[in-house]
Every structure is written in structure tokens, then in C-alpha cells.
Point group: C2
């Protein structure tokens, strides 16, 4: 038989992420404060040259405590799946030791994403057990600078809601868009998993 | 400032996977042979109790050589994102050292999935640079035993094709469905990232 040796997958967030978070005991008090951190991570990710302008943070809804941050690490890790939301969900699952963040109805977890999730990340939100998704910049804002959000059903918001996931859009949208536009204005790479095809790079 | 310590993410395929593959030099000659391996991995994943009945394999289209296998490892790893296709893409990216499998038009990579990808995996296919997606069991077959494929646009096949990704469905479908049905008949867990909501578990 064969002698296959397949690689392990291993990754961590860049060191700057932990240094950019408030103290572990800090309780976030509003949607705007929570989204502010997601957007700040999107900005810092570009500044530190560790990825595209996308940040995401998972919070414990009841207490406002931060559970897991994420940033886009596609180029940094060389992995197409390393969008901000995917990274945040992976870290939350690891920290909490479970694949279902919705298994305890007493504690609801919520994801704040600096830009509306692409098809992949929206799918992972569906499976994650997260109870609420809050978005900054819109799908259209990402597409406006050349990122592609992928194949999404037009009624994805209604379909997530019908699965018990609350969705809120356009929280601090202008602030989130300003990071996208600054990235684009400074010639940031619209990285692209389909280099030889027509359309743009993947968000988010 | 804070004293955050966030976990690293690390995983490998279960040991049985490498032992179940043909020799590394083997060239697969037909779609049926390639799909046969994806389905066999889905069957063995249940047999070895490492996850749900879903397998996926990435091949180099030109040579027929195997690049990366994947199986559903959601429960095994405790990570909602560990669907078979996501795992296969992560391993392919790691082996080849790049996030864009489509960056060399001379070499096309193709993904064989024992069941049509859910919304998350379909999204990752879009970003992966894969040039062809071949599916065994259908969306409906997975839903028929209680798995949920997530929020997918009705025209997802056409939309993937418009992005330069060929899609072929129903390859060895009966064989793939027989594994799904055996799983269900033996009381396999329809694991669910939304335990307290109405609908079923995530495929694939």
C-alpha cells in the first residue's frame, strides 16, 4: 500500500491581534462598540500587511465579553478558507471546546463582521450555532471595490432568520466602508482565488 | 493592556485516511474511479467513527493524481467548519503552498465530493481556484435523511459555471446515496450546529 504523508494544518492569529484587544474582562456595551473593534481589526490587518481589509469578532451576547477575534488571513496562511469570519469561528470553537455554539440556549453568541459575509462565511455562520450576525459594510460596498461575495441567494438574510439567526445590517457602515476604500485607494491587492477568470477577489 | 492568549488551530486527518489511499503515484483514469474514492472515504469515515458520511478528494485533472483527500471532521475536531470539502481544500493549499489552485492554467485541479457541497463548501470552492466540481449524491439526497445544505441560490450550478468552474452532478449517485442511507438506517447522528432550532444538521 501507499506511503502517503499528508500535512497537518496549523495556524495562529498574528501577534498584533492580541495586543490590539481590550483587557479580557472588558464588557462591550453596544453594537457600535462591538462593530468598532471588528472594523479596527480590518484596518489593522491592512496596516500590518497580514491580509485583506476584513475583521470579525464573536461576543457572548449576554455579557458583552469578547470570545474570539478574526481577520482575513488568506495570503498570510496561504489558505483560501481563511476569511475573517471563518477564523473567528474556528477560534471560538477551539476556545469553547465545541462545534455548536448554540448548544446552550442561556448563552447566545453573536458575530460582528466588518463586511457582510461571503457565501462561504455565511454558510459557516449557519452551521456554527451563532444566534446573531451583525454586519458593517454591505455586499455592494465590497463589490464596489472589486471584491466578489460569491454565489448568495438573494433572500439570504430572510433564510438565516428562518433558521433562528438574527441578522442586522449597516451598523457603522460608513466607518467600515472607509477602510475598504482606503485599502483600494492605496492599491491593496484584490486577491483572487480565480486568477485566470473574469471576476474579482473574495471577500471577506 | 490585555493579556490575551488565543489558541492555535491545528489538525490532521485521522490515520486511517492515508492507509486507505492508493499509492501516491497512482493515476486515476475516470470520473467514476475518482468518485469511487470520495464515496469510499465517506463510508470509512462512518466506520471509523471520525465523522459524518461525507468524503471529498482533490485531483490534478491533467494527470489524474490525487492531491488531497478530505472527510467530515466536525465532531472529531470540534470545529463547525470541518466539512469534507473544506478539509480537502485546506490540505491541498498546504501541500501546494498556495491559496489559489487556479494560478497555473496548465494544471487544472478538480474536486470530487460524495455529496453536493453545502453553502459554505460551495463558497470555498468559488475562492479555491478549483476548475471543476464533480458531485455524487444530490442536495435532495442529503436533505432526505435530515441534513441541511444551507442557504444556496437555486442557480448555484450556473453561477459557478459563469465563474469558470465546471460542475458535473450525479456521478455514481446511487453508490453515494447508499452510504447516506446506511448512516441514517444505523442511527448515525444528524449533527447539528443549531441544536435548539428547527431544522437538521449540516452536510457535507
Amino acid at each position: 500500500m501507499g506511503s502517503w504523508q499528508l500535512p497537518s494544518i496549523a495556524f495562529s492569529l498574528p501577534d498584533w491581534v492580541c495586543r490590539s484587544l481590550p483587557e479580557p474582562g472588558h464588557c462591550f456595551v453596544s453594537d457600535e462598540e462591538k462593530m468598532g473593534l471588528a472594523i479596527e481589526l480590518s484596518r489593522l490587518n491592512v496596516l500590518h500587511a497580514t491580509g485583506g481589509p476584513f475583521g470579525a469578532v464573536i461576543f457572548e451576547a449576554t455579557s458583552g465579553r469578547l470570545v474570539a477575534p478574526g481577520v482575513n488571513l488568506v495570503q498570510y496562511l496561504g489558505w483560501a478558507g481563511a476569511h475573517a469570519e471563518m477564523v473567528a469561528i474556528a477560534i471560538a470553537d477551539k476556545r469553547l471546546g465545541k462545534f455548536d455554539l448554540g448548544d446552550n440556549p442561556e448563552i447566545g453568541y453573536e458575530l460582528f463582521s466588518s463586511t457582510e459575509p461571503c457565501s462561504m462565511c455565511m454558510g459557516c455562520v449557519t452551521w456554527s450555532g451563532l444566534r446573531r450576525l451583525v454586519c458593517g459594510a454591505s455586499d455592494q460596498d465590497a463589490r464596489a471595490i472589486g471584491f466578489d461575495e460569491g454565489v448568495k441567494a438573494n433572500d439570504w438574510v430572510a433564510q438565516l432568520r428562518s433558521r433562528g439567526i438574527a441578522v442586522q445590517q449597516n451598523v457603522c457602515r460608513e466607518q467600515a466602508v472607509s477602510v475598504l476604500n482606503a485599502y483600494n485607494d492605496h492599491g491593496g491587492l484584490i486577491y483572487n482565488g480565480r486568477a485566470s477568470t473574469a471576476s474579482g477577489g473574495a471577500a471577506s
